[in-house]
């Protein structure tokens, strides 16, 4: 994992336009979610969350069974299932297939799983053109960036940014009206859809009893990607399974509302295998690529296994006070926000500088809105504990250790503690009501304390300590 990107963080915080863009967009998403759960649905919504949690728990505890069931149903309907340990294996499979099909052009609909394994770069490296077709994802691809948000990849781009990107990359005249920008993208991408050899999608759900891939979207690009080209490849993590088609009743209602505040998104596609005989259109071949890439490691960790329940709605990002300040590009991987903070260290393995689980105020907003009830704050605490133990083992952080032992010792000695309080008052020298303490006295203003104070102000110590006040009060009452 990369070290804490201090300079980049400061740049994000100082960029007023960016701050406004993040704040406004996440704010709108929060409002839309709230509006889609009116008071008369509040009880049902909680029941759906609990049901979804239980179904996901059950599925993962019996995952091998459902994987085999899915596989046999996909195969039975004329599709093929391919297992991949990592991004390299996914790319190898697709490159080999593209070669056999003599394919050049690939259209893609938005998929965090393919972002996770840098699939576009891997394909382009072998002279294949892979075009993103979700509007936000297309903008990001043209700008050579990573998605800023799980659901809204171009959340940080204003219409003016988009105008510049379209002009630079497509050579069109500068256009700042959002509707017209959308038309430009539509006409460029329409041509791609009609000429593409292969369509690659992700999957919002994999349905074991049907051998089906479920795709949820608003634009129609996932429908086109999965219907227009002769070959459809769906790439999905093995944790995306649900047992039955009937379980969708709960999951679709939760996903639409939590992600974009829609009772149902515009298009929900339930796809099982290639076009069947008698059907007029649809792909001739269907492949489902099931990706591990760290998921089985996480599966083995019973307390943290629930991280795999995630349905990628992005609600925890929108509600996170940290994400809303630092945005999506300061996180070390493609998954940002609270869910990124817990799955990144677990998928990639906790590395030398695991700052991510510590970058949270543990306010709990993420757990409150999570549609599948993942206890994100608890997992953050567990990860912190693991990171600290790892540091101890490597005999790092001894100073911190010492400081806390000193603190604990002080707390056990009331007289000394009181003396400390008096000293603090004396040194800082500020009386009550004279504003905040912005720096510490020079002697203390070093190392971690200095770093801590650089982002925080403290109320000054009061002129009289609590103990002094208490004694005065007791004397008065006795007297």
């Amino acid at each position: 994992m990369n070290p804490l990107p201090v300079q980049k963080l400061h740049k994000t915080l100082a960029d007023a336009n960016l701050q406004l863009a993040i704040y406004t967009a996440t704010g709108r998403l929060m409002d839309k979610r709230q509006d889609s759960i009116p008071a008369h649905l509040a009880g049902d919504f909680q029941q759906w969350r609990e049901q979804a949690h239980q179904v996901k728990k059950h599925t993962l505890e019996n995952l091998d069974h459902y994987l085999e069931q899915l596989e046999s149903n996909v195969t039975g309907r004329g599709g093929k299932v391919v297992y991949a340990r990592d991004g390299g294996e996914v790319a190898d499979f697709i490159l080999d297939l593209a070669k056999r099909k003599n394919a050049r052009l690939i259209v893609k609909s938005k998929s965090m799983t393919t972002e996770e394994i840098d699939l576009n770069e891997r394909l382009e490296h072998h002279q294949l053109e892979a075009v993103e077709t979700d509007l936000g994802e297309y903008i990001i691809q043209l700008a050579h960036e990573r998605p800023y948000h799980i659901v809204a990849p171009a959340l940080h781009k204003t219409r003016y940014d988009v105008a510049s990107i379209l002009t630079q990359r497509l050579g069109v005249e500068r256009e700042i009206v959002i509707e017209k920008q959308t038309r430009i993208a539509r006409s460029v991408l329409r041509e791609k859809f009609l000429t593409a050899d292969i369509g690659i999608t992700g999957a919002n759900f994999l349905v074991a009893d049907s051998g089906a891939v479920v795709l949820v979207e608003n634009e129609g690009n996932a429908r086109l990607t999965s219907s227009a080209p002769r070959v459809h490849i769906a790439v999905a993590g093995i944790e995306k399974l649900i047992p039955r088609a009937v379980d969708l009743a709960v999951f679709l209602k939760l996903l639409g509302r939590s992600a974009t505040g829609q009772p149902l998104t515009v298009y929900t596609s339930f796809l099982s295998g290639p076009r069947r005989s008698g059907e007029i259109d649809g792909p001739e071949e269907f492949y489902l690529v099931l990706l591990d890439n760290g998921r089985t490691r996480l599966l083995a960790d019973r307390p943290k296994r629930q991280s795999l329940y995630c349905i990628r709605c992005g609600a925890c990002l929108n509600h996170c006070p940290v994400y809303r300040k630092i945005g999506g590009h300061n996180y070390p991987w493609v998954y940002s926000g609270p869910i990124g903070a817990i799955i990144t260290p677990q998928y990639l393995g906790v590395a030398q500088d695991p700052w991510l689980p510590f970058a949270s105020s543990l306010c709990g907003a993420c757990a409150e809105v999570c549609p599948v009830k993942i206890d994100i704050p608890q997992i953050l605490l567990d990860l912190r504990s693991e990171a600290t133990k790892a540091k101890d083992r490597e005999r790092q952080g001894r100073l911190e250790h010492l400081a806390f032992r000193l603190w604990a010792w002080l707390m056990c000695h009331p007289r000394l503690y009181e003396l400390g309080g008096l000293m603090a008052s004396a040194i800082s020298g500020n009386g009550e009501g004279r504003g905040w303490l912005r720096t510490l006295p020079a002697f203390f203003n070093v190392g971690p304390l200095r770093a801590w104070m650089s982002q925080r102000d403290l109320p000054p110590p009061p002129r009289r300590t609590f103990r002094q006040l208490w004694r005065t009060r007791s004397e008065r009452e006795e007297g």
Binding site: T24, R28, Q47, E61, N62, L63, D64, H65, L67, Y83, A84, R85, D134, L135, G136, I139, A154, K157, T158, R159, I178, Q181, T182, A185, R190, L194, A212, E219, N221, R223, L224, A228, P243, R244, V246, D247, L248, A249, V250, T260, Q262, P263, L264, V266, Y267, T268, S269, F270, L271, S272, R275, R276, G278, E279, I280, D281, D292, T296, L299, A300
Partner: protein, 210 residues
């Protein structure tokens, strides 16, 4: 082989052995409300119009046909092979091409058409959705490529919602390779969370309930 490797890792992670029966699955949570046909019609229209879709209650097949005729005007339309469209006389209207069975031909006609006309297997009252099962009657691209989508649906096909659909059709894959729920016109909010209609799919949707 990665298949066996991954399945082995999964089994080790959760402590199961190959072929072991799964634990009992949690009971299904489906709730189907009781609504009469008028209530379903009303709810469907309200939900779809909230999404800027248009609905029209046709008194008869002929009425539906004249709605279609005025929408098509002098434009080019492509109709699916749904028998109900023929029954309404829509496939015989000027400017309407239909009866395609070849995918390449269908695709190029759809790409040029101003309006795509379909029926629907079901409609969902609470969300204003159309349910389209791919078959020899309904192709996927007719409701997708043209900028306007007109669906002509017998009103008895309106179900209360998703829960009723999945109660009736617990195994959609048994019937079709593709079941699509269409809820309003194609839209995006990817730039500044500002709503724009008609990105890749139709920007306009009309549902005639016969």
């Amino acid at each position: 082989m990665s298949r066996d490797y991954i399945l082995h890792k999964v089994r080790t992670a959760i402590g199961r052995s190959a072929g072991q029966e799964p634990a009992p699955v949690p009971p299904v949570l489906l709730r189907v409300p009781q609504l009469d046909e008028e209530q379903r019609l009303e709810s469907f229209s309200q939900a779809l119009e909230k999404l800027a879709g248009k609905t029209y209650r046709a008194a008869s097949a002929a009425d539906a046909c004249s709605y279609a005729a005025s929408l098509i005007g002098s434009g080019r339309a492509v109709a699916s092979n749904a028998p109900f469209l023929r029954e309404c006389g829509i496939t015989g209207l000027a400017g309407v091409r239909t009866g395609f069975l070849d995918p390449d031909e269908l695709r190029s006609v759809c790409a040029e058409a101003d309006i795509g006309i379909t029926s629907a297997d079901y409609a969902l009252a609470d969300t204003g959705s159309l349910v389209m099962l791919s078959s020899h009657r309904e192709a996927r691209l007719v409701s997708l490529l043209p900028p306007v989508h007109l669906a002509v649906v017998p009103r008895e096909r309106i179900l209360t919602g998703l829960d009723e659909l999945l109660t009736l059709l617990p195994q959609p894959a048994g019937q079709t390779s593709s079941m699509v729920l269409i809820t309003g016109p194609s839209r995006t909010a990817d730039i500044e969370q500002i709503l724009v209609r008609g990105v890749h799919g139709p920007g306009e949707i009309h549902v005639v309930l016969v």
